[in-house]
Symmetry: C2
Subunit: 320 residues, 2 copies
């Protein structure tokens, strides 16, 4: 039985945001129902960064994403984050495919944030604010555009060039390069920076705003003034991961915020166990750290799409 090898170029042609949003929403329902499993990530610390193993299983699919984070890589023209997934048949453990998972990661992160906004933001949300116009901005925009009728997209990045590159790539939307405070003044705000200095001030957040806090994904990182968290309805993708490295990690350590103040996990919100938009005035925050079940859900779509197609590399890999 051959193993399928899908390079980053292959994967990029196969990802479709609409399909991914549907699959990611379903995997959160499956997880809530005990039909998706995800043991804790294993972290391997290295001198210049780290590597993480993210295993997960859903109906008909199992696998592990092995992903690095090396912040100084751009200095030598390499991406900070590169991910490879091994995709297995759960019935036998057979490695059905090895695929680049760099774009799978970006797409599922965008999809999950847009799903969170669907359940948490005001229904009439039409203004999207994006702070940080790096790679993740592209998939955040794609995903929110699937679920909201965006009238205006405000973009701020400290690099003018990054903002320009991003806004020019999406002529179909009303994109505006703005100041930081103007971008923050949106119906839905996506914060997408790797900072350790919270730059979103409490004063700038108007009533009714929904924030997707995406940037913080490791201990020490934070983007939001902790007073936003204490005033908001906060939903996390996974409590253990958020506590360890999500937006809440620094405020927790500084005792400016407590775990009891977290309102719900995203699967509880999606399944309707908890409802978090009680009125138009509430500020809501989704703290995203990225889950292995999201990755495997997307990998399954990709694999099912190409398993019987010619034109992809197949090798007798684990057979002697």
């Amino acid at each position: 039985m051959p193993t399928l090898f899908l390079t980053r170029r292959d994967i990029q042609k196969l990802l479709n945001m609409k399909e991914i949003i549907a699959a990611v929403e379903q995997v959160f329902r499956d997880y809530a129902g005990g039909k998706a499993t995800m043991p804790a990530k294993a972290y391997l610390s290295l001198q210049n960064g780290d590597l993480r193993a993210m295993p997960a299983a859903i109906y008909g699919a199992a696998g592990v994403k092995w992903v690095n984070a090396h912040p100084r890589n751009p200095l030598q023209d390499l991406p900070t984050v590169m991910a490879v997934m091994i995709y297995n048949d759960p019935a036998t453990g057979y490695p059905l495919a090895v695929m680049d998972a760099t774009d799978i990661t970006a797409f599922r992160t965008g999809a999950t944030a847009a799903i969170a906004a669907k359940y948490m933001a005001r229904e009439e949300s039409v203004i999207l604010g994006i702070v940080g116009a790096g790679r993740q901005a592209y998939t955040q925009l794609k995903a929110h555009a699937e679920l909201f009728d965006l009238k205006l997209v405000k973009v701020y990045d400290h690099s003018e060039l990054a903002t320009q590159r991003f806004t020019h790539l999406f002529p179909q939307y009303n994109m505006q390069s703005t100041s930081l405070d103007e971008a923050i003044d949106s119906d839905i705000l996506c914060t997408l920076t790797p900072t350790q200095q919270p730059f979103v001030r409490r004063e700038c957040i108007k009533a009714g705003t929904h924030i997707n806090a995406i940037g913080a994904d490791a201990p020490g990182k934070q983007e939001l003034d902790p007073r936003i968290l204490t005033d908001a309805v906060v939903v996390v993708d996974n409590l253990e991961q958020a506590t360890n490295g999500g937006e809440i990690n620094v405020p927790l350590k500084k005792e400016l915020y407590s775990v009891d103040q977290v309102y719900a996990t995203l699967d509880e919100v999606i399944t309707g166990k908890k409802s978090c938009r009680e009125n138009a005035e509430a500020i809501t925050v989704f703290d995203s750290t990225g889950l292995a079940i999201e990755d495997i859900a997307v990998a399954k779509i990709v694999y099912e799409k190409v398993r019987n197609l010619p034109g992809y590399m197949k090798l007798d890999f684990v057979e002697a």
Copy 2:
């Protein structure tokens, strides 16, 4: 930068037991000196088996082995265990290679047991007993033959066919198909079965025997009468893994053995921190569960050997 793909056939041509023994011994020294890291395995439980992520880093190499154990696979002509390793540059996280790790696993397990025997068995050991003539028997024999001047190899398996296949494959050694009790009566005994019923009775173990207990690698498995453990000098490869699923796991749960009775870890023995063969009469037991540092040490040899050779598949895998 291309990623190298090494199939099982490629790997089988590249493995050399002498080199592997040297590398595995060195990695235990490195580990003892804090120069090799190995976070705990991540387990993914599945209906018919499990998958395990085994990350590790040593000088110049990092990676994860992703390996399944599906006991019913042979019913559909698939191996019980199949392993894939992603091999990274620790400085950047770049995935330098993806390689089949099935035979890497078998070779490093054999190498580690032979190294344990070098430090734990009587120096004049010349009779090797092998119980269980499956795949692991091949690499156990190869490894012990590198380090001992074997005069006789006694083999027992409940399958006559397995024994015959094994003994015919090594005409260069004095191989003998024997009863179970005769095989146990050896200078060095390797137990290589997946049983949950301890079959090595205390009465059969003569003074001075060294036992490599390899079979038990998951909760519930055991091969040795627990009285052997209480009477022997017991060395484990890793205390956490051994406690969880090694030879000592069932006796620990039944309170027939306690963790305090474990004498040392293999790295302590190799570095001379603990000496375990005080006299010719002692019974010694090495409880092997298999470590991620052993895998990465072997993967590094393989990668260094072929990185600049033509004839292996290279793909621009993680680049867009």
